[in-house]
């Protein structure tokens, strides 16, 4: 009597762990606010795609729905591009919340994240920061209604520092770019060096402009090459988050030394070369859906959307009153192609996660490295730990 079986199953609903009676369909809409991409240069081999980030969120919704259909749950994405990159995101956020949306994914810089978070204070809406690595958002400027799915700069540079420790490359030549982001990254490198007992033996600003974007027929900038002369170091660490000049440094240092940081050997969340822990499936699924390779911002937006989906599936509810406390509950753990579950640190809402260390064509390592131990989880060897946090939630 298969027909009868199906009816019984329908009434009993989904997972047997549930103690609830028949479930009503549960619909959840997740909003995403993102910046429009500026038109690329006439030729850019790896131009930033227009749908960077948002394509990952779309895949996350598809995955949420594949799961949700067994639970009578459905998920939808409301996409809200800003008119210009620096436009005020508050109107967009308020519009989404006005429609009843309670989960907002932002692929925006820190200042815009803070504006949205502060504008939504007093509502029960939750913000997922998928684009801003700034440590201050997890420290002095932390907000109780913001969860950070991407690693902080401190976590990224700690991952690189752990790898350098394993390799015994202890002397760093730090080259910092001119932007605020670059200064933040350089500060994180200095902190990681202290934390892992490495030495910054040379520390210089980059003053030669966006040479990585120069053309092949541009005259070689000799002074950019000689400024690496006469230094004692094992690795040059570049801090260039915009990708303006970091790729100019490898193979142009006076002494033959490897390069890492924001370019060359990079600590990051995602790379097309990642295939372990089931990542190959996600790469293929993304390529089929978006027609291109998955980028870190795509992955981070996917993690944010899957975080909401996973929590709604587990709790069989979608109200922030139920979902938000669950995110920092030990029972929450998101599988996200990193071999271990990702979870949120209660003290600053930063997602714990392994960080891959890659060069453009190959995976080199993954942090936490073997032997870096922590009383809670090795993942907490990356970034700011509970005793050091400057974040205070009300």
């Amino acid at each position: 009597m298969p027909g009868g079986l199906a009816v019984i199953a329908g009434l009993a609903g989904g997972p047997a762990l549930a103690q609830q009676e028949a479930q009503a369909p549960l619909a959840t809409t997740i909003g995403i606010i993102f910046r429009p991409q500026e038109a690329p240069a006439s030729y850019d081999a790896e131009a930033v795609p227009e749908d960077e980030g948002v394509a990952g969120a779309r895949m996350g919704i598809a995955d949420d729905n594949t799961t949700g259909r067994f639970m009578k749950q459905s998920f939808a994405l409301e996409e809200k591009p800003l008119a210009t990159p620096d436009a005020d995101p508050v109107a967009a956020a308020k519009e989404l919340v006005g429609k009843g949306i309670r989960y907002l994914v932002l692929t925006l810089p820190a200042d815009q994240v803070l504006k949205v978070a502060d504008a939504l204070k007093g509502t029960d809406a939750v913000v997922f920061n998928a684009g801003a690595p700034d440590d201050r958002l997890r420290g002095a400027d932390c907000r109780a209604n913001v969860f950070h799915v991407l690693p902080s700069r401190a976590m990224l540079t700690d991952a690189l520092a752990q790898y350098l420790t394993v390799m015994r490359w202890r002397k760093l030549f730090l080259i910092a770019g001119p932007t605020e982001a670059d200064k933040g990254y350089a500060d994180a490198v200095r902190n990681s060096a202290r934390k892992f007992n490495l030495k910054v033996t040379a520390d210089k600003p980059w003053t030669f402009g966006p040479l990585a974007k120069a053309r092949g027929d541009t005259p070689t900038r000799a002074e950019a090459m000689v400024f690496t002369r006469g230094l004692d170091y094992d690795m040059a660490v570049v801090a260039d988050e915009e990708g303006d000049w970091g790729d100019y440094v490898p193979y142009r240092t006076v002494d033959p030394r490897p390069v890492g940081g924001t370019q060359a050997l990079t600590p990051t969340t995602w790379s097309p070369v990642l295939e372990t822990w089931g990542a190959a499936q996600a790469q293929n699924r993304f390529k089929r859906m978006a027609g291109r390779l998955m980028r870190p911002l795509d992955y981070q937006a996917w993690v944010a959307v899957r975080t909401v989906g996973d929590a709604v599936t587990a709790k069989k509810a979608n109200d922030p009153g139920t979902i938000t406390p669950f995110l920092t509950d030990p029972a929450f753990g998101l599988p996200a192609y990193k071999g271990v579950q990702l979870s949120f640190r209660p003290w600053d809402h930063q997602m714990r996660q392994p960080i891959i260390v890659v060069q453009p064509k190959s995976m080199v390592s993954v942090a936490p490295e073997q032997g870096f131990l922590h009383q809670r989880t090795p993942l907490d060897t990356l970034g700011v730990d509970l005793p050091e946090t400057t974040c205070k939630f009300p």
């Binding site: 298969p2 199953a9 047997a16 699924r285 090795p378």
Partner: protein, 327 residues
């Protein structure tokens, strides 16, 4: 082993009868090498690789017909299942598996074959005689583990990203229920009496025991190994003895196989095997269990009674699955 080689069937049978603690017959183990695009063939008596056969790209799931004459291999990147004649080692035909077949299970009657299509969120059911797709059943994201109840009426598929065990009626091909388990379920194994289903959760680090009739998780087995990070304990393959006394669970990068009292659900011991151990298979007499160790490119052989690793056999690149034939 002090046995006359090539003494003919009579002598062989006599010898094995005398030494009954040894494997009763020379079984053959087939190991798929995910990155080697090959199958390593192992004689379970000599514990040596006797042949290496070329198959399609990214071979993972592997199983045999009941008579051991045909070997089925999921050629995941070729979107097909290769069928090999075990007497010649040649691919004799390919089955239309649907995209990216990863694991499958053959009905006790020998037909049909139930296939998990990892990239496509579905289970494909194939009539292997007619090479015809009987049904495609939508399931969760990244379906992988496949278990069949001993009476053949219920098929269970686990979906790695959806974190569920989907119960499928094998007559109607409908999903009749879903049970949430821990993160990244990789494998589903029924007990021989059909009452319980064991499901491993690779990222969750647990094995859930599901009461099949109630479709409810009644117990979660957790693992603790001194000097091994909890994060490295990633359960994948599960095998339970026919008498229901012992279960073996492969623990991935913990490089151990857990031996569990299948009645009390207590972990008895952890056997050190090769690196990143994923899949397991008993010899037909259940005296030995073979493990595939992906990172160390070898197979470990465990003596089931003694609960000891007795041999490690080098195979091809990234061994994934293992199936053992009665002949």
């Amino acid at each position: 082993m002090g046995r006359t080689v090539g003494a003919g069937w009579g002598a062989l049978a006599l010898t094995t009868w005398l030494a009954s603690s040894l494997p009763a017959f020379a079984f053959t183990a087939y190991v798929t090498n995910e990155k080697g695009n090959s199958v390593s063939v192992i004689d379970t008596t000599t514990m040596a690789v006797t042949a290496t056969w070329k198959v399609g790209r990214r071979p993972r799931g592997v199983t045999l017909t009941k008579d051991g004459k045909e070997l089925f291999v999921c050629a995941s990147d070729d979107d097909r299942i290769d069928v090999l004649d075990t007497s010649s080692g040649k691919v004799v035909r390919s089955l239309r598996s649907g995209p990216d077949p990863e694991q499958f299970i053959l009905a006790a009657s020998g037909n049909p074959l139930y296939v998990a299509n990892e990239d496509d969120s579905q289970v494909t059911i194939i009539d292997i005689e007619k090479n015809k797709v009987l049904a495609e059943v939508p399931v969760g994201v990244e379906p992988e583990g496949m278990g069949l109840s001993p009476d053949g009426t219920i098929l269970v598929n686990t979906s790695e990203t959806t974190n569920m065990a989907h119960f499928i009626d094998t007559k109607t091909f409908q999903v009749i229920d879903n049970v949430l388990v821990d993160a990244r379920p990789r494998f589903a194994e029924f007990t021989a009496d059909g009452k319980y289903l064991w499901v491993s959760a690779e990222v969750g680090g647990t094995v859930s025991i599901i009461d099949v009739a109630a479709r409810r998780v009644i117990k979660k087995i957790t693992f603790k190994i001194p000097s091994v990070n909890d994060e490295a304990i990633q359960p994948v393959g599960i095998r339970i003895t026919k008498d229901g006394s012992k279960a073996f669970v492969a623990l991935g990068p913990a490089n151990r196989v857990a031996v569990i009292d299948a009645k009390s659900y207590e972990v008895q011991k952890y056997l050190p095997v090769g690196q990143r151990v994923w899949q397991l298979a008993f010899t037909p007499d259940q005296k030995q269990i073979f493990t595939t160790n992906g990172t160390s490119n070898d197979v470990s052989v465990i003596d089931v009674e003694a609960e000891k690793v007795v041999k490690s056999i080098p195979v091809g690149l990234l061994p994934w699955g293992v199936a053992i034939s009665p002949n």
